[in-house]
């Protein structure tokens, strides 16, 4: 009997911890997304559009989930340093010049990346500050 009670308490505590952790990471994700949205509006929306639709062939859309997933580790570099390499988005080749955003801090870049990869039909979850910091060291 006593064993069972202890076991029950143990299980309850464990599940509470798991639940709390999950909640914390969900809260973190939604904080990233809502801050990221503000950063997007202020810096990116002029070219990439309110719904990530892009602007003609001047700026590519942000709706190609496969591209974003595949190039996840490069996104931070694109944002921090700009880019002018040809890239194929939704089957169409774009070559333009995206300006650098040297003023954006690593945390801002993490948040705006999480926003664009979870908006416009994308759903790719969290992308942590620490990972972005690592990716930024690999920029070419």
């Amino acid at each position: 009997m006593r064993k069972n009670i202890i076991l029950a308490i143990f299980l309850t505590v464990i599940s509470a911890i798991i639940y709390a952790c999950q909640n914390a990471s969900e809260i973190e994700l939604s904080t990233y997304i809502s801050n990221g949205k503000d950063i997007y509006r202020a810096n990116c929306q002029n070219c990439h559009g309110e719904n990530g639709e892009g602007l003609g062939e001047l700026a590519p859309p942000l709706t190609d989930s496969v591209f974003l997933e595949k190039n996840k580790s490069k996104l931070a570099c694109y944002i921090k340093n700009g880019t002018d390499q040809p890239m194929t988005i939704n089957g169409k080749t774009y070559q333009g010049k995206m300006p650098a955003f040297p003023k954006l801090q690593t945390i801002d870049i993490a948040q705006v990346t999480v926003y664009i990869t979870n908006a416009f039909g994308n759903k790719q979850g969290m992308y942590k500050y620490e990972q972005v910091a690592k990716d930024l060291q690999e920029c070419k």
């Binding site: 002029n46 003609g56 062939e57 001047l58 010049k97 300006p99």
Partner: protein, 208 residues
């Protein structure tokens, strides 16, 4: 009963139409002249003076090319990282609305005359999705463009190292009537202003 309803609708429509709306003049000047010893007041409207610029096909464009048309003028540069994409995203909506109306034209002047040569503007226009002739991307000497901007279209433009992209300018869309008089100025980065521009263009098109 149904007839009565129809009559009321027709009546309402008519009463709206009795006084045609008219757009204001932006640069009206009252000049006092002395005629036969008496002072007479004369109202004059400033007009856009003739210019000679080059478009995206390197063809000469003068004010004559805007005869019998109303047009929207703006100042931008192709590498502008901030407001120009918003202005042109909005102006593209206006262009689409009047794409097949040869009484409507567009004149986008570059303020980065060093980089935005006609060939660069041509690539830009193509990427924006402009296929017809009624949207001209105009290039000229620095002095010509800046004088037009400030003296005639009243848009602030300046080379400024600190500004994003190297140029400071305002995002106004200037509406000019068939007699080359300015009839409205709209902030091309504000949605409501752009809707107002389109409504005003419909009014202006009805004017003789």
């Amino acid at each position: 009963m149904r007839n009565l309803f129809a009559i009321i609708i027709v009546f309402t429509l008519c009463s709206c139409n009795t006084e045609p709306e008219r757009l204001p003049f932006m640069q009206m000047e009252v000049v006092e002249n002395v005629v036969d010893g008496k002072t007479v007041q004369d109202t004059t409207f400033r007009t856009i003076p003739d210019f000679k610029l080059y478009n995206q096909d390197s063809t000469v464009v003068t004010l004559k090319d805007f005869d019998n048309a109303i047009y929207v003028a703006d100042f931008f540069f192709t590498t502008c990282p901030t407001i120009c994409p918003i202005m042109h995203r909005n102006l593209l909506k206006v262009y689409k609305k009047y794409e097949h109306n040869n009484q409507v034209k567009f004149a986008s002047h570059t303020i980065d005359v060093k980089y935005d040569k006609p060939s660069v503007m041509k690539a830009y226009a193509k990427k924006l999705g402009i296929r017809t002739k009624n949207w001209e991307f105009l290039w000229g000497t620095r002095d010509e463009i800046y004088a037009l901007a400030e003296r005639n279209y009243m848009v602030y433009t300046k080379e400024e190292a600190q500004a994003p992209g190297g140029f400071a300018h305002q995002g106004y869309l200037i509406l000019v009537d068939k007699h080359k008089r300015i009839r409205g100025a709209y902030d091309g980065t504000v949605d409501e202003d752009v809707h107002k521009l389109m409504a005003d263009m419909d009014i202006l098109l009805k004017e003789k």
